[in-house]
């Protein structure tokens, strides 16, 4: 049972919405530690393309993941870093802009439509329709599986 399933049962929940290119996504606010501006990262050798490098976050070394690349989208202007806890590790997710904090209930979240792509099915946990916008709920834990958070 993932945390998403558990918190779904609790009714009200808060999500942070952000933009990558044309699309909007949101993640559970509980996994977000802070939001900070972009600082140049130190590249890591032999790392996957979506790992931009590491930055200094108050003395801790934090890997920065280009979320657009991880989701297989076009790269975006480096702008905002969402510092999130995924499994036991803290990572920085590069996004274009943080757009909203949403308080939603169960009914707002529609199930993910049947799509063929494995990648989307892997991380998408539902779709929200808010002010005629479509926001995709992402589960970071699924996007970076344990084995992968080792690598990513």
């Amino acid at each position: 049972m993932s945390y998403a399933v558990r918190s779904l049962a609790e009714g009200n929940r808060e999500l942070i919405a952000f933009r990558i290119g044309e699309q909007e996504f949101c993640v559970n606010i509980m996994s977000v530690r802070e939001i900070r501006g972009w600082t140049p990262a130190t590249p890591l050798p032999h790392s996957p393309g979506y790992v931009l490098g590491v930055i200094n976050l108050r003395g801790a070394v934090l890997p920065i993941i280009d979320l657009s690349k991880r989701l297989g989208m076009k790269p975006v202007e480096p702008n905002v870093i969402i510092v999130a806890q995924v499994h036991s590790k803290i990572i920085g997710l590069l996004v274009e802009a943080v757009s909203d904090i949403l308080t939603v209930t169960e009914e707002n979240i529609q199930s993910t439509p049947e799509i063929s792509s494995d990648l989307e099915r892997q991380y998408a946990r539902g779709i929200l329709a808010i002010d005629k916008r479509m926001i995709c709920l992402i589960e970071l834990g699924a996007l970076f599986t344990d084995a992968e958070s080792e690598a990513a």
Binding site: L44, H46, S47, G53, N56, V61, L62, K89, I91
Partner: protein, 743 residues
Amino acid sequence: MDMNEIKEIFFQECEEQLAELESGLLKMNDGDRDPETVNAVFRAVHSIKGGAGAFGLDDLVAFAHVFETTLDCVRSNKLEPGPEVMKVMLKSADVLADLTNAARDGGSVDSSRSSGLVKELEALAHGELPAASSAPAPAAPVAKAPAASDDGFQPVPFSFDGFGEEEEAVAPSTFEVSFKPRRELYSKGNEAALLLRDLSRVGEMSINCIMDGLPSLDDLDPEEAYFAWKIQIKPEKGEEAIRTVFEFAEWDCDLEIKMIEAEAKPNAEELPMIPVPFDLSALDDGPEMVAAETVNAAVDAAETATRVSKLAAAAKAEKKESPAAAAAAAAAAAAAQANNAAGQTIRVDLDRVDRLINLVGELVINQAMLSQSVIENDATGTSAVNMGLEELQQLTREIQDSVMAIRAQPVKPVFQRMSRIVREVADMVGKSIRLVTEGENTEVDKTVIDKLAEPLTHMIRNAVDHGIESPEKRAAAGKEPEGTIKLTAKHRSGRIVIELVDDGAGINRERVKQKAIDNELIAADANLTDEEIDNLIFAPGFSTADKISDISGRGVGMDVVKRSIQALGGRISITSRPGLGSTFTMSLPLTLAVLDGMVVTVAGQTLVVPLTAIVETLQPEAQNIHSFGANQRLISIRNSFCPLVDVGRILNFRGTQANPVEGVALLVESEGGGQRALMVDAIQGQRQVVIKSLEANYTHVPGIAAATILGDGRVALILDVDAVVAASRGQSLKQEMSLAVAG
């Protein structure tokens, strides 16, 4: 202080005592017959027993007691500590450690093992104590009570028959206890009346107070002890129960416990004594008799019981002038010495030290940032601010060194644990093996020590199980039947090097190779050097044991060892000579917190190269660069040729090899031996850097040891020189890489 805290202190002390015990026993095992060694061993067991008694840890007390009794036979030269005896002793020390752990963590101990040992210990004590074994009828064949019972370390007589068979209750014999407190007893907060009350619970008793020594009121010293008591008692559980009551007081009083034959003194009441009725019941409800402070003091005394007991032994021996105390004096002097040593150390929670270290780490980074911004604004470097900053830098460095020194610990405890593992595994596989340790006092950071235990345990198990041959095989090969494993630690160029040498059969290269082929680790027609074959044992999923034994080969192999050593920033290698044995060499950093490094630029990136690896730096000239083969280049340095390694290329920072003439070459020596010239673009300077883990939030990056934070607040990567050198040898980083990018 609540009870749990006190208990925690007790267990901490136990750990120290157990270490003391083990090192003493090992000395004895090596033929040390110094009475002081035996005394130290005895003291350790005794202290554990005493403390355990205070906390009601009965299993521990019971075992420690039997152990102590047997040790006492050794101490009083009744038992010769030969190899067989020492074997049992060492095993008992192991069980004692297990029992202590079980008492702390609530685990259970293999009772068959401990009871088996109890029997062996008893047999030892019996075998050399004909008086005890041939003692007549009385169900408790008590070793004869010592005459001078004030000896701090007198043998404690004990009924062996009663042990483990509580059912078989000893018929209550009558004992005469004469108890004369000395003033120290009261000054340490003990109270004779409370002891007597406790005694009254042991069995039916009659008590007489001897007040002969009482002076007139004018001469009375309020702090002196004048009373003595004679007690006739029928303890239900034998003499031991009486001893237990006086456990913490026996050094501060003249205590004599004599068994009276029932027929000899049929009527206790008729003793020629001035019967002074002594109403103990007053104690239970009469606060006027025992001042509240006394009770508190008594409680305090119990709290610090283990310490007090040591002090008591020392203090007593100093006062005592009777010849009987000679032996005790020596022992007590050592106890006093130990006390002095203890006085110079304090116990500090590791978390606090770590916090301090982290803060100092931040301080170093901050100081570097400050320096940098001052330098940017003060080009001449002569302002007062600049001078002050230089001093600050000096000071931060000193603080850092001192703080790191707090964490430095000798490797001794880990090495000691290994001797136990050797014993146990050797027993299990029926081999006879001696562990020789050297350089146990080599100091290294505590984290390194903590993380060293596991891989070392694994390697020791392997050495015993696979390395050393069976006694028959050894004899056939013309070797001593007893195998030797040597464990050494030493400092070498800013690292600690630990060597594990066995004199076993060495690596069976044919079998290793076959196994590797079977497991598809190498191609069937692969042509490998001996060294390469030896190192195959570190390959993941490799196990040489033909049969999966209980000891090693639990599915984890040397690859796990290698990985944990690497995680510590260390290296491991093996050399083996068939028929003569194998040597594992591990080299580890002394600390996981700071490092002296050379800050260099490679392809626009800032990297830190550990200073310990660098032999020299040089500016290559065109005529010294020679092409070799397809794309290898060598640099000639004073007429020797050394391969050039482009760091930027290895780390994939650039696509093509840089022109060596435009850069700087760092001549490095790698753990595997051999020199390489690492090409970097420029040298920025030398700096002490704080090591930050990449693994904490990311993963191991091939070619990179760790990260650090530079003065400008940016992250710089610390180069893993050995991995880069290995990569340049053709063992590409790819294998590790494929792991890193999996998924």
